[in-house]
Symmetry: C2
Subunit: 483 residues, 2 copies
């Protein structure tokens, strides 16, 4: 089935394709009928948070209506098949140290992974750089070691590699020392250590962090970088191993299908895709969605940056609405002629549109699959991104681009951003508020996870908790005790 | 409530106490009545594998009978309260890199942890040694660095710290290179690297590995040590951080209660404690347990070493029965007078009864809580262990022992061993057979987990999978499609 999400540009002839093949598209797109308007629970959004909540509640015997604005499951993750090769358009990498996602991978027997960025010593095995407008080249190991040194210095906030300031990566606010680091931008933290770094070390670090944060370094909060560092086991290699190396051999959309299919098997799931939510009214004895459907509870999994588009009655706490996901990062897949670039990587700083890229295996035509990250801030329109971006890539390294495949998450009306990163001074002030329920409406999204926030893992964390809380609310014992 | 498991010896007056206070004891001990004999699923065993399976199936709407030989939940984990201080009698430590257990901790909001073995620089801050019968003493950092060097050399089987031989710690058989390492005992692997180690380095390593394996080094399989190494992120510090550092502030038994209580809330759970299983007959259309109860499916979570005590009809595959858990390790808690030993640690090699011990915080009386590991092979009777063991501890360091608290897992008729470790040449031959179902009987125990085998995490891994498979078997869609 084809999704209306995403773009594929044939670079040789300029043809722009939409309607890409995706295992996450559900048919028929709607099972809800006019006769059905009352449910136990309505889950808004079919990303991993929504899918997890929906599945858990269906298993527990609740009648669930799942509403999704897109034509597919997966939210900010989906896989397209172009020419027999799978491209991950959003969230991609998973790891056994991500507890929520790995528990599901194990349970669905979806532990077969393929590895990204690990083929080395083949073809153009070097790291291209475009620092301050000057092209350069270095050994991958040199680039790694320089980046690692700078990354480590950045995150060694306590002489214990961050272990004292953030001893529990899944509870980043735990230490009383944490708060002071939460007020800094990445740029401000860099100022504190810059004197001990060479220009190239700074550029390599900034390129890496731009790709992690998807924001300019003066806007990005240092605390989220420290959080990734702690989650990765307090090493840079750990950050990249957990966040950038292992992906589903069968694709994210196949994994997401496991959740959806299990929910369907219970016969408790009703759904409607292509259905945008505009209003959620908590009328105390029931919650009404879009003035049309009602349920005892609603789990809203709408991402942080688009929560303002839903009219909530009563209105949501200002504390919930006063924070944003600042990540406007871009991700592009290129298929380039021949296998020569499969071990290649490159970095640019300052970031124009491109900040980082590397080989991610070969396509069936024995061409190279490159994955590149950049910033969406300077793009004009989603469908034009591909052309502009390829020009930047060619500045970094000569390449004969055959295909460009991407999704502009910034211009996506149901996301308005990529994986969640906060500005300074956001987490301590707003994270708890984001997690709080409002009466009969619960909120679940990776954007406010405590652990792997911004990751698939965080989405499942939040979805499972919301379902647990709703199950507890509506459990027979609890209801009996009220009678 | 009091459990009949475990011993507490008042060392000053020699009084031996049983009936220790434990939050895992369930009252009433039985809810099944003579009138009820047919269920959807019977789960045998209320350790974490059984609790997980039971809970998942109850939530999914199946009528479940839980049968347990002991008077408590938790299997090879439980917590006793002696004098207002919690002692973990079996499996203790958990970590956010253990996906199955951490998913549950998050969902039950049981993420408040306390740390073991981390207080340093107070009182007797040194490492006592008893190597080849000679008493010695070293700086903790020296002992750490020497052990780390030896541990790393042992596990660096490929010049890549084991990453090539075991790239997926949750799939230890993945690499074709793995098998050759699986035929070695720890002693044989030591021979390969011994020339580059000092005597003290060997003794420190062997003491540590004795405590990990609970078996003599010629019996213990090197592959399981390599597995722990890989699971710990390919560093010794990772092994100890994930396996020996963080425990539940509220105790394991409180965590286990979360599973049990959630199952109870569904009204689908019936149970009987103090009920030993002797027979499981698969009669194709139903499975009969103890000739008394029947169900469509049985999930048997009996540990590997006691599986032979249950009469299965048809008999189980010989391949399932031809392997054992070789871990006959002992764990003792001592309360010793005063806080001076709270930073102390010690090691003995060769192992008589004691191999390793260290401070684990202070008790309410401001005494030191020590946790010590050893071997059960030379003990005569469970109730005498405590006295013998204390003598060995006093050889290692002078101490005024007030309380000795322990459980002899080797002599425990429902365990016959501690956390699962294999002899050489066991994993490739038997692991898959152990995981296989036999008709309508499924088997779930941490002893044959793929990831954190021998850990609580592995128990939950297996329990969740068994429940998933049974749910799938008995799902309405599947049953409908047969009609």
């Amino acid at each position: 089935m084809a999704t209306q999400d995403g773009f594929y540009l044939e670079n040789d002839n300029g043809t722009l394709h939409r309607g890409l093949k995706c295992a996450g598209v559900i048919t028929p797109p709607q099972t809800v009928t006019d006769k059905q308007s009352t449910f136990d629970v309505i889950v808004v959004g079919a990303g991993y948070a929504g899918l997890t909540a929906c599945r858990d509640l269906c298993i527990a015997g609740f009648k669930v209506l799942l509403l999704e604005a897109r034509d597919r499951i997966g939210g900010r993750t989906y896989t397209v098949d172009v020419g027999g090769h799978l491209y991950e358009m959003g969230g991609t990498w998973v790891h056994w140290n991500q507890p929520h996602v790995y528990r599901e991978m194990s349970r669905y027997r979806m532990t077969t992974l393929s590895t990204s960025h690990t083929e080395s010593s083949a073809g153009h095995n070097y790291h291209s750089t475009m620092f301050q407008g000057k092209a350069g080249k270095m050994e991958p190991e040199t680039a790694h070691n320089m980046t690692e040194k700078a990354f480590r210095m950045l995150c060694d906030v306590d002489g214990r590699l961050g272990r004292r300031v953030m001893p529990y990566p899944h509870d980043p606010h735990y230490s009383s020392e944490a708060k002071q680091w939460e007020t800094l931008s990445v740029a401000q933290r860099l100022e504190q250590i810059k004197a001990d770094l060479t220009n190239d070390e700074v550029s390599l670090l900034m390129s890496s962090l731009s790709s992690i944060c998807g924001a300019s370094m003066d806007k990005a909060g240092f605390f989220d970088v420290l959080r990734w560092w702690a989650l990765g086991g307090y090493t840079m290699d750990g950050v990249y191993e957990t966040g950038d190396q292992f992906k589903f051999a069968a694709g994210q959309s196949s994994f997401a299908r496991c959740f959806f299919d299990e929910a369907m098997r219970t016969n408790n799931l009703t759904y409607a895709f292509n259905t945008t939510i505009t209003s959620v009214q908590d009328q105390k004895n029931r919650v009404v969605v879009n003035g049309n459907w009602s349920a005892k509870r609603v789990i809203c999994t709408v991402p942080l940056n688009v929560l303002h588009k839903v009219r909530f009655e009563p209105t949501l706490s200002p504390n919930k609405m006063a924070v944003a996901n600042i990540n406007q990062g871009a991700k592009f897949h290129l298929e380039v002629a021949g296998p020569a670039l499969r071990s290649w990587s490159g970095a640019a700083w300052p970031v124009n549109r491109l900040c980082h890229g590397s080989g991610d295996g070969l396509t069936p035509e024995d061409n190279t699959h490159l994955v590149l990250f950049g910033s969406n801030k300077d793009f004009s329109a989603p469908e034009l991104d591909g052309r502009d971006f390829v020009d930047d890539c060619k500045d970094l390294h000569d390449m004969d681009v055959k295909k460009t495949i991407w999704h502009n998450w910034s211009k996506d009306p149901f996301a308005e951003g990529a994986w969640c990163m906060f500005a300074p001074d956001s987490s301590f002030k707003h994270l708890e508020a984001l997690q709080q329920r409002a009466g009969n409406v619960l909120f679940a999204n990776s954007d406010w996870a405590v652990g792997w926030r911004g990751f698939i893992d965080g989405a499942i964390e939040r979805g499972a908790l919301a379902a647990y809380d709703v199950s507890f609310d509506l459990s027979p014992q609890k209801i009996e005790s009220k009678i």
